[in-house]
């Protein structure tokens, strides 16, 4: 178990800077998930912690000791790769024992550790096999086993579940969480899958274009996204965005369509008249009588998921951009109960649940102050 401290971490390839200064303090035993779209720099970030990429500027410290110039093998870390990176010419047993042999442990202890890890991961019967004789899920577990046996200070996971099918992914997600909890090893986990991010993390680092947009617990990120990017990235279906502006007395926002939404709990006194992007989660909208509606949805498509029914469409008279809605860009989704009887082409009168507004500056995309 180890605490990791990252200060002003930067990475450049030639003149192109891809990571623009990340600060984060990770406590011992914490499970941190780094999430973001392709090319946001999350893997590069992880590889710098692993020591596989040189640090351009800033420091990475493990347990208070800077490790910028420490070789990967001396950092006491273990990494699980997306492709598993199992040694194809070695048996499962030898794959797991490889690092221990190099560390010079006595054979009896190596065997004991491998057996213990194999039992934990239900791999005991596969120990004499080669990786190519295993299924994807089993290989994944061997990769985990190789990390566990070394009993490192830090686990690093680089999209370890992306190559598995959906069902196996859910199962392995739970196993990883359970393992991390029982071992208590500090872990950094990179993924582009927001469900993995939400379910595994003690804290999330949401990355976008080389910047950590928000670092916080999953629920805090979900309930108080720091920017339009975070709000859009976390949550499925994504948050709805509408254009509007703060009213003259600063206690409400007015949609382009003319509806006025109360902004209780927001301190907007200094922002009167400011153009804002209003975010509303699909589950914070409910169907009401036409007279009580905050906005009207023109339904374009319906997805019945069983437990829920999702209605997709656009808000009549209101887009995300401040102009007339564009069917493709200004999709508004509503999560309705599974038994809702609605039809395509229908107009739905919707009301926003009290206090469930998210307000962002229309120009910068940053969240406005909400006390």
């Amino acid at each position: 178990m180890a605490a990791i401290s990252i200060r002003q971490l930067r990475k450049s390839y030639g003149k192109t800077e891809v990571i623009h200064g990340i600060d984060v303090e990770i406590e011992a035993g914490e499970f941190i998930v780094i999430v973001g779209p392709s090319g946001c720099g999350k893997s590069t970030f992880l590889r710098m912690v692993a020591g596989l990429e040189a640090v351009t500027a800033g420091t990475i410290s493990i347990d208070g000791h800077p490790v910028n110039d420490v070789e990967p093998k001396d950092r006491d870390i273990a990494m699980v790769f997306q492709t598993y990176a199992l040694y194809p010419h070695m048996t499962v047993h030898n794959n797991m024992a490889y690092g221990l042999k190099i560390a010079g442990l006595p054979a009896s202890e190596i065997d004991e550790r491998v057996q213990r890890a194999a039992k934990m991961l239900e791999l005991s019967e596969f120990l004499p096999r080669k990786p190519r004789q295993l299924s994807g899920g089993q290989r994944q577990r061997v990769a985990m086993g190789r990390a566990i046996v070394r009993n490192p200070r830090v686990f690093l996971f680089d999209e370890p579940l992306s190559n598995l099918d959906a069902k196996l992914r859910v199962q392995m997600r739970l196993e990883i969480k359970h393992l991390q909890r029982s071992l208590g090893t500090t872990s950094l986990y990179v993924t582009h899958d927001q469900v993995e991010a939400m379910t595994l993390a003690d804290r999330l680092i949401v990355m976008n274009e080389g910047i950590a947009e928000q670092i916080n617990t999953p629920m805090r990120v979900y309930d108080h996204p720091a920017s339009v990017f975070v709000a859009d990235f976390i949550g499925s279906p994504a948050m709805n965005f509408l254009a509007g502006r703060v009213t003259a007395n600063g206690d409400a926002v007015e949609l382009d369509s003319g509806s006025v939404l109360r902004a209780d709990g927001w301190s907007l006194g200094a922002d009167t008249g400011r153009a804002v992007t209003i975010g509303i989660r699909p589950e914070n909208l409910r169907q009401v009588a036409a007279g009580d509606a905050d906005l009207t949805l023109q339904v374009v498509a319906i997805e019945t998921l069983g437990a829920d029914t999702l209605a997709h469409g656009f808000a009549v008279g209101n887009g995300r951009t401040g102009q007339a809605p564009n069917k493709m860009k200004d999709n508004v989704a509503v999560r309705l109960p599974g038994n809702s009887q609605i039809a395509e082409g229908e107009k739905l009168a919707l009301r926003i649940a009290d206090g469930m507004l998210h307000l962002f500056d229309a120009a910068t995309g940053k969240r406005l102050g909400d006390g």
Binding site: L52, P72, K73, Q82, T83, A85, Y87, H89, Y98, A103
Partner: protein
Amino acid sequence: MEKRVTFGGGVLPYLLVLPQMIITAVFFLWPASQAVYQSVQLPDPFGLSTTFVWLDNFKFLLSDRYYLESFQTTAVFSVAVTVLSMGLALLFAVMADGVIRGASTHKTLLIWPYAVAPAIAGVVWLFLFNPSIGVVAFYLKYAGYHWNHVLNANEAMLLVVVAAAWKQISYNFLFFLAGLQAIPRSLIEAAAIDGAGGWHRFRTITFPLLSPTTFFLLVVNIVYAFFDTFGIIHTVTAGGPERATMILVYKVYADGFVGQDLGSSAAQSVILMVIVAALTVVQFRFIERRVHY
């Protein structure tokens, strides 16, 4: 489902394989059968008639001291060429694999010797080491060493080995480099994180994963040293001094076309044919089965 073009019988399929069959027949089957036929014949001194002598040519060869010596020479020569060219090629490939700046220039330059014909390669090395006019021989003399491969058997062997290996390094280099680049980076990274240093990584991960390439090259290089080095031997030493570099394939030529002993020469060809067939069988057997992980 397998996609496969099918022909509805008739003559077309036969026409399509005909060119290959003709080439095989004219350039392999016919000469090979001639060699087999000649190997059991003994021509008279004027080449006007031949006598069927059963396996006398072979019996004579196997009791011929020079022929058995030639076997030894060939063994030494091929092992030396194979080890030298593969060893250096692997070293170069590992280094080229690590080069980032100017990588393509390095690779191109390393591939060049392959484009040189064996006889030309021989002449190049001959010029360098010629005892009277060679540049290297000249400087060796300065350093106090009198190089003369025309008289010294060991020096002659060394020179043809170096010349033959030099030409084959490019070929081996290409295959080793491709083999190295086919090893996923993440494996090497995983080994680095597992605590393995550079040499240990090479020994336990990289080299075992290269083993299919290595085995393939081993067979190819032995075949090369056995057969394709004729031009180098011919230009550099012509088998001398005193048969010191007389490898089997050169002896076929020397006995048959210089010594005019066609029966013995044909018998030697047949023996070489058997050797190459055996090598090919070994290669296919092992490459398909053992040398895979």
